[in-house]
Symmetry: C2
Subunit: 128 residues, 2 copies
DNA sequence: AATGCAATTGCGAACTATTCGCATTTAAAA
DNA sequence: TTTTAAATGCGAATAGTTCGCAATTGCATT
């Protein structure tokens, strides 16, 4: 309900509702998923809201392959990765970031790494 | 020119030419990138060829965020990951897979991992 | 509480990457 | 060489996302 709201991001009914939806989600959602939860708002508005949230680092946008759309999740600080079931497409969170104690080396030895994304695939307990 | 060709994949001028293009590429290419190299073939044919290559595990299809298209690279066996420069979008290969000696644990403890993708972001030597 | 204005929204049209349908061509098996 | 399933070219269709613009709304200032 009440939560930190970025300075400079105007509060509107649409934005707070979309924020609520993301707060209640336990897996990343697509724009259309969100749209279905708040069908009174225009889909293009959902996209614009998500873009504004992304600009303020409130959400993380990901593109899961196999799917042709983007999904969004609230940026809750400590970053989370997911494993995706190739059969039912369920997303299962990883216990911890596998890169925690790994150092990554590029061919170009001057590359400054700022962030990463990980996609894990396989079969969930129900599907295998 | 002569290289292993999967059993059951019919050899056509279009397919071998697309294969050549991918062989000569040192970074993943989009369908349109490839199309520009072989402009006599229909773009839809390029897509279908890439889909057939993917089915035979000859290419790896990836979706780089920020870009709204997919890119394809030849599957050369030992898998490679890339770091992407957030400024110039150059792709720099990693020296080795960071997951080589890491075990990944999901919340659901029965998840069977079969593969992974990694996306590293940052700034290349030229851009930072 | 009323005013002003920039930011946001709704609506539909536009755009882009990708896929599909179908008639024609072609690889390669017989 | 004949045959036949698979591949291609072409344009149209689709899906996700973005854009333009007029109408609305948040919120700072009176």
């Amino acid at each position: 309900m009440e939560a930190k709201w970025p300075e400079g991001l105007k509060k509107t009914k649409q934005r707070t509702d979309v924020y609520e939806v993301l707060l209640g989600a336990e897996a990343p959602m697509s724009a259309v998923d969100i749209f279905k939860k708040v069908p009174d708002y225009a889909l293009s508005t959902i996209y614009r809201i998500l873009a504004s949230f992304e600009k303020y680092d409130m959400v993380i946008k990901s593109n899961l392959p196999g799917e042709d759309n983007s999904v969004y999740e609230l940026n809750r600080g400590g970053h989370t990765h997911y494993a995706m079931c190739l059969k039912c497409h369920e997303l299962v969170p990883l216990k911890k970031c596998p890169f925690e104690h790994v150092d990554i080396q590029t061919e170009e030895n001057d590359f400054e790494i700022t962030s990463h994304k990980i996609e894990i695939y396989g079969y969930c307990s129900k599907c295998k």
